[in-house]
Amino acid sequence: MKRRDFLKAAAASTSLAGCTRAAKNEDLVKVPKVSAEQARDRHQGRSAVALIPCPSYQEDMTGLLHQYADRVGVPDLKGKNVVLKPNMVEYRKDMPIHTNPAVVKAVIEFVRDRGAASVTVAEGPGHMRDTEFLLQVMGIQDVLDEMNVPFVDLNLDDLDKVPNPHGFTSLEHFYLPATITRADVVVSLPKLKTHHWVGVTCSMKNLFGTVPGRKYGWPKNLLHFKGIPKSIIDLVRIIKPAFAVVDAIVAMEGDGPINGTPIDTGFLAMGRDLAALDATCTRITSINPDELSYLILAGKVIGNTDPAMIDLLGSDIDSLKRPFKQPITLTNKEMIARAAHEGS
């Protein structure tokens, strides 16, 4: 549905000259109206986001996360059953499609240090359903073996029927993996990438990997039809991740989330308010979060996307900002039109 949004946006762009910037962007990307019920659980007050310089995967990432954890409000993990959700959507050799295993390892150590009773790594890859293959070639299986951590393939897990009250999609409920619905704490571990349907994928879009392939198939196609931005927000509201750690040491630019190219960005990001975290990371890609519909919607119902409401710790945006190549769907209308005929 996003492609249609873009086409509509292109058609509408000439008729909005008199509008304010915020109103114009919302209209362009068709952000749905938000009810009081839908906004009820929005993060209150200011949000803290840590931008942690980290030039390589050989750094002491666990130590770096500890330095910032309390200041960004990472919750108490003592005695909690923690599920870490990396991004393993697909594999191409030497391409930064997936969360780096060194980051997964660092976060395992981090949550254990903070007293987690159990740690599970869980993912339902969105494209490739051969999860054992992905674990091996990505190097995540080696980390799991070394750290003695179990893995759950969320695509094949037991299903719980979870209501979706006041959702933005028309889905009255989701079938979600029991490993996610029964966890005390879910932690999103995304790879920062440009994304040809939503602009940028980060800690919120990463939750598409919690949607079980056994029920919804393998690009989680139903959620595309229900609207990717709306689906992202519904999932965040249902799953309520406790915090997120973004792998942006090497990110992806261009035609992400699969066909893009690597870009050295050299940082980790951590935050409890996923809207603030994703909006901040988006600014670092040089894409304006106020032009991405799911981030506009997130700003209304999840948390802060206004930079005036976000306290940055560690580095600042300007020093990390890179001119990411943009997805062709943001820049090339002919491509969008062609994509509409390509089927997926």
Binding site: E132, K161, Y216, P219, N221, N259, I328, R338
Partner: protein, 273 residues
């Protein structure tokens, strides 16, 4: 599928078939991935395939036959549809039937796009036990075959759906290529199939997993190709407890790949009932 001829195994298979029949969606004749999980989905193909194979083995009864007939109709009705009713009517009036005859596979979920894997599963369900006699299914198979053939990757083999996305060529994968080959086994000489077999044979150990190797072995076998290399990769992966995977569906497929009789080899005959 793993049924043999011992009495105990036949009894177990009959009970499994009864469960599968009972879990059929009463509204549309399809199956969902698990009972009580809503709409009919891609599980229809594998369920139907197993019931049809059991019937061939002589385990059928009236309920099983009825479930099969309803399942077959569900497959015919659940293909992807790109045009709403009014558009189809206009197309029919404007260009005749041929305008409505375009490549159509199956989605994972109702009302979504068609993809290589569900299309392959459903084609296997239609073909392997013998193609149903009705002309309807001949057309269904023809257009689903067409979808697979049109969407083969530029270098051969299959990705998940398209061969190209937003201008970027997509690579084939071992698993999806093997699955599509199993679904197209009645046209072994088609150039796209021949190229896909070559792609499948080119994969190395590091491109492999127990799942993709098991399906590759089954696919190469139906084409009468050597599979020693793939079997050796597979055997390397057996763990000390005898398993190949933590996923028992994968273990089941590995056992099928290691057995001397390949149950995914297509029957040459049409269905007789």
């Amino acid at each position: 599928m793993a049924l043999s001829d011992t009495e105990a195994e036949r009894a177990a298979a009959a009970k499994g078939a009864a469960f599968t029949v009972a879990s059929q969606d009463q509204k549309n004749g399809g199956w969902s991935t698990a009972p009580d999980t809503g709409f009919t989905d891609w599980a229809t193909g594998p369920c139907l395939l197993s019931l049809r194979c059991l019937e061939q083995k002589g385990l059928g009864d009236k309920d099983l036959r009825r479930a099969i007939e309803r399942g077959l109709l569900c497959l015919a009705d659940s293909r992807v549809e790109f045009f709403p009713v009014v558009a189809r009517l206009l197309m029919l009036m404007g260009g005749g039937r041929k305008d409505l005859e375009y490549a159509r596979g199956w989605p994972w979920d109702p009302d979504c796009y068609h993809w290589v894997e569900p299309t392959s599963y459903h084609l296997m369900a239609l073909k392997i036990p013998g193609l149903p006699r009705a002309d309807l299914y001949i057309k269904v198979v023809q257009f689903a075959n067409q979808f697979l053939l049109e969407n083969a990757c530029v270098q051969g083999g299959w990705n998940h759906g398209n061969h190209i996305s937003l201008g970027a060529e997509l690579p084939p994968y071992r698993l999806t290529t093997a699955e599509a080959l199993l679904a197209l086994q009645e046209i072994p000489d088609h150039p796209t199939v021949v190229r896909a077999i070559a792609v499948l044979q080119s994969y190395k150990n590091e491109d492999s997993s127990p799942l993709s190797l098991a399906v590759s072995c089954l696919a190469l076998d139906v084409y009468g190709k050597q599979r020693e290399k793939e079997l050796s990769y597979l055997l390397e992966r057996q763990k000390s407890d005898g398993s190949f995977s933590t996923n028992n569906m994968v273990n089941g497929l590995v056992l099928l790949a290691l057995s001397s009789e390949n149950p995914l080899k297509m029957s040459n005959s049409h269905e007789t009932t």
